[in-house]
Subunit: 238 residues, 2 copies
């Protein structure tokens, strides 16, 4: 009997914002895997602090590279591809031995998640538990609804070219931008060029103790990778 | 001491996909309010079946109109505006008497939710608990990630004009369409005109017992209001 690999969404960061199903799976797990940057505890692991059974086997999966090699360098893709294949082998082996494994996924596993690169490779049976996205955490933290009536919502990554960011920011009612990190200066220029600078807010560490919401005009040029930029829709409301 | 109005996201439908925080608030609530169509049990109320304390006071808020008057008729807005104002008065009164109230919200309260029309009117203190969106439920049900790498995700409502739907469907990597209901025939023409008919799937009752995923080319022309159309992104993956 093969074990099952569970890709479990943790939500935006506050421990009690994970689903009841995720909470039960994590507390009951005998094998718990998660991604992290080498030498760091890892954000996913930090979210579940105090929830993992002390007898459980932990399986940290350490990225061989994060920002040291640019995305455009073929070595980046090669290194990550080999890494995901290796992680998949370890997880498939555990499942073949009959072990269930819980993989901790920040936010929602199927929304820009590293887990997707395992999911597409695993031979073992996989079940996915959705989670509250980081962007839901961000707009909740902002205290303002993101979309009303017929509002169009566009979700972009700040890794896109500046001209494309500008064009798409100009052409949407509501906006979410992910993967900001070192791209904040470029993103700011795009928001300015689209004439939306007065509407944009940067949300850092949404739903967590150090949550911070800053108008983009007042934000500094460097921010955490998990920061999210929001422009709220203003659509039809009775 | 004023009570607090809690806008609580229930997630996509399965009871154990609500957050631990939502679960605790709902089980502990003495006053529970929810929207429904007159004469129906209501989808939000159905999701929490068996969770509400039998001693709790239930406050159904019944829409005066749903699809009987077209959105474009000014009487639609007037009827709903008066309705939301009336609900707000009842909730503010309860809070003024010191009662906390839990408002049940399908999906995420700040993402196209009726709760937003109370939130913008309430005088009482309000706290919002985010939820797993219906669209996360839908793409999880589809078994395929929605966005990879630099994929652009566009979220549309099928209530938009056909030409705008076509233009935006042509110009995105990944797509989510909400509020489909009677607009499915128009939406299908827009997807066809954008050349994306082979990529589109209709997800009904995601995460619930009667969950169904149908290629758009095989779907019938009428579907539930809470159906969601998906086109999955195909972006960069190592």
């Amino acid at each position: 009997m093969s074990g099952v690999i569970h890709g479990v969404g943790l939500g935006p960061g506050a421990q009690d914002l994970m689903s009841v199903r995720a909470d039960r799976l994590i507390r009951g797990a005998r094998h718990v895997a998660y991604f992290r940057k080498a030498g760091r505890p890892g954000q996913a692991r930090r979210i579940v602090d105090g929830m993992i059974d002390p007898q459980a086997v932990e399986i940290p999966m350490e990225y061989p590279v994060t920002t040291e090699i640019p995305l455009s360098d073929p070595r980046y893709n090669e290194a990550l591809s080999a890494f995901y294949a290796d992680c998949t082998d370890r997880l498939d082996d555990l499942a073949a031995q009959g072990h269930d494994v819980v993989i901790l996924c920040e936010g929602d596993p199927f929304f820009y998640g590293s887990f997707m690169h395992l999911h597409s490779r695993l031979k073992a049976p996989v079940r996915v538990v959705p989670g509250i996205t980081g962007m839901s955490g961000a707009w909740t933290a902002s205290g303002t609804p993101i979309t009303w009536g017929d509002d169009v919502l566009t979700v972009l990554t700040a890794t896109l070219p500046e001209e494309e960011l500008t064009r798409r920011i100009r052409d949407t009612d509501a906006l979410v931008v992910m993967k900001i990190g070192r791209n904040l200066a470029k993103l700011r220029r795009a928001v300015d060029a689209a004439g939306r600078q007065g509407d944009a807010h940067l949300v850092e560490y949404a739903t967590m103790a150090d949550q911070r919401i800053t108008p983009l005009t007042q934000a500094e040029d460097v921010t955490a990778y998990f920061s999210i930029l929001l422009i709220h829709g203003k659509g039809r409301r009775p």
